[in-house]
Symmetry: none
Amino acid sequence: MKKKRKDGLKRQSDIMKLSLEMFSDRGYHAVSVDDIISAAGIAKGTFYLHFSGKLEILEMIIDKYLTILYESVKVLDISMDKSIEDIKKIYLDVTKILLKEKGFGQFLKIVLRDISSINHELYGKINTFYVKLVMMSAEFHINAQKKGKIKKELDPVIASYCIFGAVKDLVFRLVVLEEKIDIMQSISTMFDLFLGGMLVEKST
Amino acid sequence: MKKKRKDGLKRQSDIMKLSLEMFSDRGYHAVSVDDIISAAGIAKGTFYLHFSGKLEILEMIIDKYLTILYESVKVLDISMDKSIEDIKKIYLDVTKILLKEKGFGQFLKIVLRDISSINHELYGKINTFYVKLVMMSAEFHINAQKKGKIKKELDPVIASYCIFGAVKDLVFRLVVLEEKIDIMQSISTMFDLFLGGMLVEKST
Amino acid sequence: MKKKRKDGLKRQSDIMKLSLEMFSDRGYHAVSVDDIISAAGIAKGTFYLHFSGKLEILEMIIDKYLTILYESVKVLDISMDKSIEDIKKIYLDVTKILLKEKGFGQFLKIVLRDISSINHELYGKINTFYVKLVMMSAEFHINAQKKGKIKKELDPVIASYCIFGAVKDLVFRLVVLEEKIDIMQSISTMFDLFLGGMLVEKST
Amino acid sequence: MKKKRKDGLKRQSDIMKLSLEMFSDRGYHAVSVDDIISAAGIAKGTFYLHFSGKLEILEMIIDKYLTILYESVKVLDISMDKSIEDIKKIYLDVTKILLKEKGFGQFLKIVLRDISSINHELYGKINTFYVKLVMMSAEFHINAQKKGKIKKELDPVIASYCIFGAVKDLVFRLVVLEEKIDIMQSISTMFDLFLGGMLVEKST
DNA sequence: TATGAATGAGCATTCATTCAT
DNA sequence: AATGAATGAATGCTCATTCAT
């Protein structure tokens, strides 16, 4: 009966925030529109006033965070010429900023757990970004290879996929499985592993 | 109207094969029991004669392939003392055998794409196996570290997670995204990367 | 296609009235939700908008009439001190009022014919009311015994159960079996029987 | 696989005994043919070899006990001329014999709890027997009225219905509700009540 | 903007019964 | 006489979406 008037964008943003949390907690498929509207305290019609359906909410969530990520990546892009230590620092800084927002973890959880099984071109968007990251990494490798810093015989794309595969799995265990992981040690080990390899150098 | 009689197990196995294919093609959530029975040309009742529900089919599929995988892993387990080259060969042999069966690829697709969003303790089964593999790898590392073949400063568990993360991502792109990937080169690069690292050794 | 809009409570009440009639006519088990919705000319969803299931409708019907009955009983409760003739009159008045509403007869039919075979705690509600009635009667007996109006050697609870058993059977034949019964004579005979017994008093 | 051959009648009787127990415990509607055959350890087909369906089993059970009851009633029928004490004794004897068989209690439970809500002419059979009993009682009353033992102003049929209504309710509470009831006292009170009434005789 | 009653296709499941073996 | 795989109509229920108010 009450017609709580709100600024349209504010309401939309509220519903998105709430949906993100519910999707993250219970999975996209397990959350119904009814769940969302009763949690948001709005009527059915109001929901469809703001979104064309359940999928659109997810799309908007994905778009929102993807926009942020593309922005963040620009910073890395410029850094092409910097040293590994600088890169490392920038990565960590960006990561810290992103993880500060609660929603980003929830976004990651949905992306890593659910998106691939929803399909609707949505996975494409995510994958496009992922591939872009990998390719940036590959370009960086090529650059470093030209400078003689990195082994020339390594395929830069494949190597990049390996690194991001390892990182993705770490994030999955952290965000989706909620394992207690010593992140600093994990990252440190990853750097050592990817930079120096496992084999003991044979001293001649 | 016709009652096509079959041996109970044969029919069950037929339905499972068909379901596996449909789950793999269209995703677990997108396939309804109706889809399965109309594709299988059987009546509703016949389905529920063999399975308690849609989830049970998936469980039985998972169990079937997990059993095969646990069997396959036994072979690797014994190989603890062998050289890296031997290990490499055994892995490739097992992989070849597994990939020969069409169903195994479909199983992998479901596992990598859908399972994490279904949850129902089913993901646990898969993860338990995955962790077992990682731990076997870690034990192998420890062994190799004792023999001085592998760097002692690398955490064997984290390193193993990195390797399996990279491999998982490769398989995902291969099986789920159906990218055309040069597998031999990918594996070769992965070996070089993980064994020798990226950095050019500074010759003094 | 058309969306006949109604006040929520009005529609709910309409469905209840209709269900009551159908349950009464054909028996609770013989009436499916489909039967109800097609008779009511509403969609499946509309039914489940108002009721959580078939059983809930019955529960709400029971609750509605039980509330009325408990209200009616309050009148009797106060009358503890009155004479048998007064009691008789009040009983008849209340009965007349109740039987005026068509639904009450249907309610009685369901209660007497179906409820005991549905069980789901629902019978408990009915039985609780029935026992309350019997106990009120027993208290009245005790009162009358104290005043020397009624034989002291009769167990008041058992006697009350006898009376209500006889009445219940009468109502059953009237409402469920739809026998043509001369109610006034039946009640009159019952009063004579229970008050004075069957045996001819031996005059000395 | 095993084809346990049994005498047809023995098997039929076994299934009936089992069904009776299950119907009595869980209610006719709540027991499926599947329940029966799995409890009996026979195959679906075997069941339909002996019975045309679930309802037929119930019918056969009802018929069986009704036959016994009609037999028992013959004894009472002859006793028309005997005294109240003799009648009382015969009733108690017959009751004792009947209650000795476990199945009779189960039969009563089904009859009093379920039958009226199944309807299918089956209730008619039961009711016919019930009415026969009532009418026998009425005839006895008339007889006794002629002999001046019982008040002439009481309608013998209505009075009989009262008595049987009271008895039915007692049996219901005993068999269906499984209340702990002092049967001897109940019967004793009932006799006192129906024979002598409640009112204290006014001595002049 | 906002509401919430209404929709109906879709889904999972049950179960009495049939019939080829 | 016995089996049990197969049937399919029937049933209960969900849920994204629409639309009159």
